[in-house]
């Protein structure tokens, strides 16, 4: 029998490790315990607890902040899967509050109104793991440099239009390809151009991928959207407004889970896509004003 074992908590390995366990899965935005149960029953690997889904934040405007702790606790009590929650970019105290609530993962998210327009949270200071959005490799590696243990594409949240999520994962993939093909001599200049820490650029060259798990987010609304993001190399998907803004959330949630797990089985994607009712109506990103886009938040 083992005795007097020294345990280390909050290490980068256990932070990044939880993200590894979520791979191939779907993380769903939920605003109350009932939705959280629907998500869990559909096979979600985690839920994101928030007061308003991104499409409502867009519609209603105002300042979007961390959710009410009471609502978060209600969701924590309703499900056994991990519960994530969002803090504003740079809002150290919202993050500390979420950590005090024993949240499983914090999303330092551009979907909320940024609290700091210059700096992100120094996530290495925390025991709780963070996921952050990125549009390209440089942004992803800056966040990892600050301590993020998981990355997601930003996409354009709350639109139901997958085009930006595709653009961002394609950009990350192109940037990784460039790093992988570069000689050692070229790496420092590439790091400078990407605005990324040199050591992490070197690590990407060795691993031929991001050093942490990378999910898709921002605009995924259908099983085929989810399967598309998996095909492009994402490790899993976040679905925000796409589920609970559709006409049959329970059925759609399950279909997206199944399409994500079996993304290259097109017969199956076809089968689960049948009779889902209306997808969220959404909003075409191409017709949006630049000032209405939120993916640009983050530095």
């Amino acid at each position: 029998m083992a005795e007097n074992i020294e345990k280390s908590t909050g290490t980068f390995k256990v932070k990044a490790g939880l993200a590894e366990m979520l791979k191939g899965g779907v993380i769903m935005d939920v605003v109350n315990p009932e939705q959280a149960k629907i998500a869990e029953d559909a096979g979600a690997v985690a839920v994101m607890a928030l007061e308003r889904v991104p499409s409502d934040i867009r519609k209603e405007g105002g300042v979007a902040r961390m959710s009410d702790p009471e609502m978060i606790i209600g969701i924590q009590n309703a499900v056994t899967i991990p519960v994530m929650a969002k803090a504003r970019i740079g809002h150290i105290v919202e993050a500390r509050v979420l950590e005090a609530l024993d949240i499983d993962y914090i999303d330092e998210s551009e979907v909320l109104t940024p609290a700091d327009n210059k700096y992100h949270i120094f996530k290495n200071d925390f025991k709780v793991p963070f996921v952050c959005g990125a549009r390209n490799l440089g942004e992803a590696l800056r966040r990892i440099g600050e301590g993020a243990a998981m990355i997601r594409t930003k996409g354009e949240a709350g639109t139901g239009d997958v085009v930006e999520a595709v653009k961002h994962i394609r950009q990350v993939n192109e940037d990784i390809q460039r790093v992988v093909e570069a000689s050692d001599m070229e790496l420092m200049t590439i790091a400078k151009e990407l605005g990324a820490p040199y050591e992490l650029v070197k690590q990407v060259k060795e691993l031929k991928r991001l050093p942490v798990v990378n999910f898709a987010a921002g605009g995924i609304a259908t099983p085929a959207d989810a399967a598309l993001m998996m095909t492009l190399g994402c490790d899993g998907v976040f679905v925000g407004s796409g589920i609970f803004k559709s006409s049959n959330p329970a059925k759609r949630a399950k279909a997206i889970v199944q399409a994500t797990a079996h993304y290259s089985d097109y017969q199956l994607v076809a089968e689960v896509s049948k009779g889902l009712g209306d997808a969220m109506r959404g909003q075409s990103v191409a017709q949006m004003e630049e000032t209405d886009k939120i993916a640009g938040r983050g530095w």
Binding site: T9, T11, K13, V14, M21, K23, V83, Q258
Partner: protein
């Protein structure tokens, strides 16, 4: 060549596959029942057990894997894999394979902030302690029948075997230490030899 399947519905699949390849075995993803043909063993990786249980059922994998496990086919489960292998999941009706005489408590150490790393002595792996990684981990609070504890800490059983079955509450696939996988491959070799004696 030994061929091991890794259940690839959801979770830390590639980590197991990489470690098995390092040990010189052929590895394939298991996504539906056809993928079980010709395997010498199966790994059930860590993931979210409620999600994986539902997907196992949806892809009609639950019954064939259960049947193979009953007949002596080697199966190694980590974390979620341990939960799926257990007959008893405290307070839960979730879908499972239910092959081991173990009573498992889910998320037993607490939420993510309680996840930890520690070096633990595991007798069957030799003298050097094993670098265990526990992530929202379960533990076994009781075993019965043929199940045998291989690691226990403060009354919590963290590694268990039962004939052809092996399970850990921790994640050896997240480390560089291959000893738990090697221990599983010993079971696979025993199973392969027995097959030859039976002379199929």
């Amino acid at each position: 060549m030994t061929k091991i399947g890794v259940l690839a519905l959801q979770g830390a699949v590639s980590e197991h596959a990489d470690m098995l390849r390092r040990l010189g075995v052929d590895v394939c993803d298991v996504l539906d029942p056809n993928d079980l043909d010709g395997l010498d063993g199966l790994v059930l990786p860590g993931g979210e057990s409620t999600a994986v249980g539902k997907l196992l059922d949806f892809y009609q994998l639950l019954e064939p894997i259960r049947e193979m496990g009953r007949k002596g086919f080697p199966i190694f489960g980590t974390c979620t894999g341990l939960i799926l292998l257990s007959k008893h999941i405290n307070g839960s009706e979730q879908l499972r394979l239910g092959l081991m005489d173990t009573f498992v408590e889910r998320n037993a150490f607490g939420r993510q902030l309680a996840s930890f790393e520690a070096n633990m002595p595991i007798d069957v792996l030799g003298e050097t302690p094993f670098p265990t990684v526990f992530i929202r981990a379960p533990y076994i609070d009781k075993i019965e029948g043929e199940a045998r504890s291989l690691l226990e800490l403060d009354g919590k059983i963290l590694m268990v075997e039962q004939g052809n079955l092996l399970a850990t509450a921790f994640h050896p696939e997240l480390t560089d230490d291959t000893r738990v996988h090697e221990y599983f491959l010993q079971k696979v070799n025993v199973y392969k030899k027995r097959e030859i004696v039976v002379g199929r």
